[in-house]
Symmetry: C2
Subunit: 380 residues, 2 copies
């Protein structure tokens, strides 16, 4: 009888508060600067991946993504598979009693629990789940940080999705990239009150892909040099201190300034790259108005390579932040039951309210969460 | 009998291609960096100012602006009047036969030939006309560069409107600001083919004033340091070479990059300042599409502290550039007769065309022009 070997895992989405933008080595996905992210709860956003292999399988490795066959011949995916196989092969060499999984074709099946329509970059969760699932299948003893070096080669920010909570990606300096890896700054349990409200903004047209966009920025933005040399190092330092001290105002200021710095380098690229639109900017004004009304910084905006606004805040201020946006956006999908009970006296300017109402197509309510979780829920 | 002394002048608007943004001394309007502008034709955009004085006048100096009394008690206007009076007083001291104009109240009357609705900063033309008119009235022998030191104290960019053609404002280094002045890089006759099409964009709400905005940028933008230290000096040097060589592609690239750099520093300000909106960005895409269709750089965009797009191009390409926008915006005010005969085969993307059609409220067609002109057309 021939066995089928199988392992499954879930992996989370992460949203950076100090942004990754710019590669010093495009092949190895080595970044020009360190970055730091908050891992989001898998109850709301996760990728589930099952990795299977068997001596009865023939042909190439395959990946089925959200029900459709997906091409994995790309150099990045191949790099991940090659490195994981060689780690397994080393184990098999040390212990000849182990089944030769490294020689068997892989069948990978992966699904997101959030609609692609959400316009969230799913590659981070996707590559983290792929690497973690195969590592589980191969019973690799490697630590998440060691696996992050592999996941990074699939998609840079994927290395941060191998951990829960608050995660730094150290840029490293070695040419081989072996010191460019993710580490946990603090577990979700250190600061579990962190919440995130995502305003999904319908973009008129898809922007420049982040892969090509960041290369154009490195090549043409004069202001970007300052971001890499001084801005990001200062933001990393301040952010780690703010997280250690659970200082939300400090966390928020760095989060907002770093998002502004990143998007300013995009618009300083030649030709300029614009990811934020008037709806995104209205969300910035809304957060500023909420903080002004509260008399202190209780909300922080950040934007990735797209128009969606991610708003971080603490549980204690949920009612005020959720309430302010629920008043405007009751009609859109994604609100949780608790939102219906929320209330806020904060009145946004008409100009800001109407732009947000006209441009936000769905909501995601979530919070800080855990890293990848091994599961017995298998996809086939 | 008592005489009434009178002199009138017109002064032009200028649009910078290397932007002034940031003061090292707010009281004296001393800039953090040099800047360079193109003076626009007074046939299309000008301020006409008449300065009168008489021993029969009593009370304070007065200014009537576009038909309404205007407050001139502000420190900046007072600085200009004080300096001009002291120059006149020195002449009167040297030659006692001169009438004591420096002792007489001034009656200033000023009018713009363009609607305030155009949303163009008129302070540059306004202060240049005020200084030039009084200098004429006082028969001051001072050169335009010497007068630019006075106009600069009224409104920084006003110093550049004392010249026609292509004008640099040298930031200078002295504390007293006596070396922070405007000089002519090239007269309009050196490169008379330069044209400008201004797309007047209706802003949802008025942005941050440039005076307070630039101070916030100096205080809070980390990227701005790089703009001042390296970006602007390189742009000034490249721009002067491009103008000397009548190299439009070079002129255009620096113009676009400097506008991008300036607005990127605004969005890196904390809280961020946004002057460009989705309509402005659509204009950027339209210019990129025109240059792509032409196979070379024949148009350049630049944006001041507001959403209006100023598009520079050469006379030889008027038909293509004017034609592309006339097709979209026939309905709006400001087109000249020649536009109706223009034609362009360039098709902009639907997304870009519709945003421009929805957001541009008027057009100004103009070109490089001369500096202030003494006139016998007097306002009263």
């Amino acid at each position: 009888m021939t066995e089928i070997y199988r392992a499954s895992t879930t992996a989370p989405v992460n949203i950076a508060v100090v942004k990754y933008w710019g590669k010093r080595d495009a092949k190895l996905n080595l970044p020009t600067n360190s970055s730091l992210s908050v891992t989001l709860s898998q109850a709301d956003l996760r990728t589930l991946t099952t990795a299977t292999c068997s001596s009865t399988y023939t042909g190439e490795d395959t990946l089925t993504l959200n029900g459709s066959p997906s091409d994995i011949s790309g150099a990045r995916t191949q790099a991940c598979l090659r490195e994981l196989r060689s780690l397994r092969a080393a184990l098999e060499e040390k212990d000849p009693s182990l089944p030769k999984l490294s020689k068997m074709p892989l069948r990978l099946v992966s699904e997101n629990n959030f609609p692609t329509a959400a316009g969230l970059a799913s590659s981070a969760a996707g590559f983290a789940a792929l690497v973690r699932a195969i590592a589980n299948l191969y019973e690799l003893p490697n630590s998440p940080t060691e696996l992050s070096i592999i996941a990074r080669q699939g998609s840079g920010s994927a290395c941060r999705s191998l951990f829960g909570g608050y995660v730094a990606w150290r840029h490293g300096s070695q040419e081989d990239g072996l010191d460019s890896k993710a580490v946990e700054i603090a577990p979700a349990s250190h600061w579990p009150e962190m919440r995130a409200l995502i305003l999904v903004v319908s973009a008129a047209k898809k922007g420049v892909s982040s892969t090509s966009g960041m290369q154009q920025t490195v090549a043409t933005s004069d202001l970007f040099k300052g971001r890499v040399a001084t801005v990001v190092p200062a933001h990393m330092d301040a952010m780690e201190k703010a997280i250690a001290a659970r200082d939300f105002a400090g966390f928020a200021e760095v989060t907002m300034k770093d998002s502004n710095s990143f998007h300013s380098c995009c618009s300083d690229t030649y030709p300029p790259i614009y990811y934020m639109n008037d709806v995104s900017r209205a969300a910035v004004r809304a957060v500023e108005a909420i903080n002004a009304a509260a008399g202190k910084t209780i909300a922080a905006y950040t934007f990735d390579a797209g128009p969606n606004a991610v708003i971080y805040f603490l549980e204690e201020n949920s009612n005020l932040i959720i309430g302010t946006f629920y008043k405007l956006l009751q009609g859109v999908d994604g609100w949780k039951e608790e939102a219906k009970a929320s209330s806020s006296s904060i009145q946004l300017e008409e100009a800001v309210s109407s732009i947000i109402q006209g441009g936000v197509s769905r909501i995601i309510m979530t919070s800080v969460g855990e890293g990848p979780v091994k599961t017995e829920q298998h996809l086939a």
